[in-house]
């Protein structure tokens, strides 16, 4: 057996699909790391990918992952850096195949093993599950899934760290997964490296906290950080975070030397509370982490130590993320200039709404915002803004309806206002807005026993 390492360094490379393309490259070249972790899947991403796969069965994964692998595989193969990524979306095997092809082209044949984690995709099993009494009720509204069953476009259970651990244990260098939790992608390398046991709840919770801290990439290393934001250095070259983990569950958050950004206790705190529910019960498939036990300490420049994390046994459920067709929406904008910019925008809004009524169009919702006055802070902003003196205001009006024709008609009512509404209006260069299909998110729980993760490991 190989000796256990004293520490393991896990670098975050993508905080979401669409994150900075330079980050993963800089993480594997900027200094020593053992793992590169990349999170690609937001709540609605799976339904977008499912749609792509229905048009072309070879698609359905994060396409950006392939050119990225082409760029960094020679480096990671040489430096023995392993990769965990949920870039597989709804087609992890297709994604792995594409990575294997790239690897062979790069003459890495025989030098690389790819792990594939599947079993999260429940779309083909939904009717069977419903028939067996699994209601998959909406966690927010308590509605039964059967209410919208015919409109479901994707359904994926959140898998935890353990299938990724298995892939790593079988020698995978690159692990491509479907809907594995963001935190599991960071926790798995720790379990694998340190041999943590499935009931070592404090350790699993610590690894989960590490995962939560770096899963949004630079959001814990100076990006989107409110504290002292103007003095955070060199965000142009921001260093993405690295977890420097020890076998006892303590870890440090750091970044490569010479990079921009900042790793401070205050910044790490901001990330810890991001998208937080009940902090004493951060539930994952692997454990329940208690965020009220976390201790933070500034150990040096750009280095924060995390310790004290307590955990509790995992629940017997898995969260399931379901996407279902909801309806249509469209958002149109126009910009009004001084003088009376706000008043003109308000007048245009009234006129537009009157025309929608006159046309007999019905919407589930019509929402008006005045960008520059109240779009972000609503009435709280209006109360303090010099509304009569604003240099310009963007009228932003959106509609939502199950009826595509109503939304389509709305999109034709924006441009006419340029010539037949209030004056000093501009900003229509982008043209008529397009009706957008809404695929809504339906969170549910399912008994763990109903989901069987599948792990394959193949040589390139």
């Amino acid at each position: 057996m190989k000796p256990r390492p004293a520490t393991v360094r896990i670098a975050a490379g993508q905080g979401f699909w669409g994150d900075w393309l330079e980050a993963p490259y800089r993480q594997v070249t900027g200094g020593p790391v053992d793992y590169l972790m990349m999170d690609y899947l937001a709540e609605v991403t799976m339904s977008i990918l499912q749609k792509q796969k229905s048009r072309d069965p070879s698609l359905g994964y994060a396409k950006d992952f392939i050119p990225l692998m082409e760029r960094i595989l020679p480096i990671v193969a040489q430096r023995r850096i392993k990769i965990t990524a949920n870039a597989g979306g709804v087609n992890p095997r297709g994604c792995a195949q594409a990575v294997a092809e790239i690897a062979r082209r790069l003459r890495l044949k025989g030098k690389l093993r790819i792990g594939v984690v599947t079993g999260d995709d429940l779309l083909g099993r939904l009717d069977g599950l419903l028939a067996r009494g699994h209601e998959l009720r909406n966690l927010d509204t308590d509605r039964r899934l059967s209410d919208v069953r015919d409109r479901v476009v994707s359904a994926n259970a959140y898998l935890g760290a353990w299938p990724v651990v298995e892939a790593l244990g079988r020698g995978a260098d690159v692990v491509v997964t479907g809907r594995v939790t963001d935190t599991g992608l960071t926790l798995a390398p720790m379990i694998h490296a340190f041999g943590w046991r499935p009931d070592a709840w404090d350790l699993l919770a610590a690894g989960t906290v590490a995962g939560h801290t770096i899963e949004c990439g630079a959001q814990c290393s100076g990006g989107n950080c409110l504290v002292d934001w103007e003095r955070i250095p060199d965000l142009a070259h921001v260093g993405y975070p690295i977890v420097d983990a020890a076998p006892d569950g303590t870890f440090e958050i750091t970044k490569h030397p010479g990079t921009g950004g900042r790793i401070s206790v205050a910044g790490v705190k901001e990330q810890l509370v991001y998208e937080m529910g009940n902090p004493a019960e951060y539930i994952t498939p692997d454990c329940i982490a208690d965020f009220t036990t976390i201790r933070l300490e500034q150990k040096g420049k750009d280095r924060v130590r995390v310790s004290g994390v307590k955990g509790r046994p995992a629940t017997d459920k898995l969260k399931v993320s379901i996407g279902y067709f909801y309806g249509y929406k469209a958002v149109g904008t126009l910009v009004y200039a001084w003088p009376d910019a706000y008043k003109k925008a308000q007048a245009a809004d009234r006129i537009l709404r009157q025309r929608l009524v006159d046309l007999g169009l019905k919407f589930e919702s019509v929402l008006t915002e005045f960008v520059g006055a109240d779009a972000t802070h609503g009435p709280l902003a209006r109360a303090n803004a010099p509304l009569d003196h604003l240099p310009e205001v963007q009228l932003r009006i959106g509609v939502r309806s199950p009826d595509r024709a109503a939304v389509e008609r709305f999109t034709r009512e924006i441009a006419p206002l340029i010539l037949n509404g209030p004056p000093s209006v501009t900003g229509f260069a982008a043209g008529r807005p397009k009706p957008e299909e809404i695929v809504a998110y339906w969170p549910a729980l399912l008994d763990k026993g109903m989901v069987e993760p599948c792990v394959e490991v193949v040589d390139v």
Partner: protein, 112 residues
Amino acid sequence: MKKADRRRRVPLLELAHARSGDKGDTANVGLIALKPEYYPILVKHVTAARVARHFKGMISGPVERYELPNLHALNFLLHGALDGGGTISLKTDAQGKVFSTALLRLELELPK
């Protein structure tokens, strides 16, 4: 001296920083004391009821508050804040990213 004279208005921005995000139609705001000694002030004055009043007209559901004394932080859940949330929402801030600074507009009345 009247009681009001012995109090001063302090913007929350001077006592705390914050980050917010979403879970469905709920926005969460993590409110973090800028100094440890400010934390008890936040616990005492920035109650769930006070925050619900602050966001009146902007949220349709209740406000929940959780305490993280270890981080000198409070976590607020603002239910019904995002016009349905995620892809359904028509809001600019469909993911509740700037409810953080909206909360920091709150002014506290503190003893002088």
